[in-house]
Symmetry: C2
């Protein structure tokens, strides 16, 4: 096992870059998450343990100081997995389910929570239009609570989404009360400004009925209610 305690070490720099930029390489935190990813077929570039922890079979160990420098939470539990960033998956594969699309949803916690909801309510996948937070950022991965390993996600353009040849619906403050159960794309926009004009002009609005005592719902709350309704209608 290679023990590393220097911030100048290339492995340390590479992992730090993957946490910060999550461009070509990404990091998963915690022994369970890393093991689940490997079980799901993800191939690790490196699995990094804690110096002195022993027994984990990792080829590389960072000192506690280096691990602390990399983690902004207590969740790493001494194990980090460096992986290639997964390629765009086919989010449109299953017509018997809904495709979730996000339009300028900038908060990584909301993106991760919606990936988790897509797993919970068996969506075909999550399509990310421009302006969304990266689903492979550490914060989004944590919010997905493992669902990022099983839910197809892809960055798409507006043209690609419109070319998917599915009925297009978007969540809004007013509109139809019941979402379709299957074979449709359901778009959620940013809390401030909703979906893009091109979605608005091509799609139909779906609304969650509220008391009127709030101006809007949190985007993840709105997704929870509409995806659950579609799931319940299928079962």
């Amino acid at each position: 096992m290679k023990s590393i305690a220097s911030r100048q070490n290339p492995w340390f720099k590479r992992v730090r870059e993957a946490i910060r930029e999550h461009a070509e390489e990404i990091v998963l935190e915690g022994p369970k998450m890393v093991a689940d990813a490997v079980a799901a077929g993800w191939e690790p570039i490196a699995v990094i343990g804690a110096q002195g922890a022993g027994g984990g079979g990792q080829e590389i160990a960072f000192s506690q100081e280096l691990l602390d420098a990399l983690s902004d939470t207590k969740t790493s539990q001494g194990v980090l997995g460096l992986f290639h960033r997964p390629r765009n998956a086919d989010v449109f594969a299953r017509r018997e389910a809904l495709v979730v699309a996000l339009d300028s949803v900038q908060d990584p916690g909301n993106v991760g929570t919606i990936v988790r909801l897509a797993a919970a309510f068996d969506a075909s996948g999550v399509a990310l239009l421009p302006g969304c937070a990266d689903p492979f950022s550490p914060k989004a991965i944590r919010a997905s609570v493992g669902a990022i390993l099983s839910v197809p996600v892809a960055r798409v353009t507006h043209e690609e989404l419109l070319g998917a040849a599915r009925p297009l619906l978007y969540a809004d403050g007013a509109g139809e009360a019941v979402p379709p159960a299957r074979n449709a794309v359901l778009v959620f926009g940013s809390e401030g400004s909703g979906v893009s004009e091109v979605i608005r002009s091509q799609g139909r609005a779906i609304a969650v009925a509220t008391s009127g005592r709030v101006e809007s719902l949190n985007v993840a709350a709105s997704a929870a209610i509409l995806l659950w309704q579609a799931f319940a209608a299928r079962h």
Copy 2:
């Protein structure tokens, strides 16, 4: 107008204490939030503006450096309101609605989001059992997006909740599929360990049906779905 630029100033120390501890005094951020609070009948101890901003009619102004030192986000927009902490409200007032209770929900973002959902779906109020985040912390207030001004909230003991003489239900991984529409207490526990044993022994379990591809739902997502169901059943 009193202009303040020193960290030793008693007003600065008092506001900082209210932001950090939110014990007897609490802070609301942003001109709209402070104005809405005053309109809702909250009496400010002080409204603090930004030095040089002018025209706001505030009696105290902090230098930009002091304002930056107090805010962990960009949301203060140069106005802070110092208020007495509201007393426990009567969360059980309306039998035609549901009472939401939270049991050891530690994340202030989840507490604030559920206060917002209570407004959206017209709950009687939000009862906070021991172990919950403070609904008047800056992060919970922000997550409530103003709903903290209109939703009755109260800290309660398990005994007080059980003494409320309402049917008691709690969200769980398995249980009845349909929540009651009115005249009941609906308890949400922590994501890790659910509700307390005393709630479990006295109440009935309600569950949100899922695909089984996730171990659990985020507590705010679960609350969104169940509170919306109850609201929809009443309308």
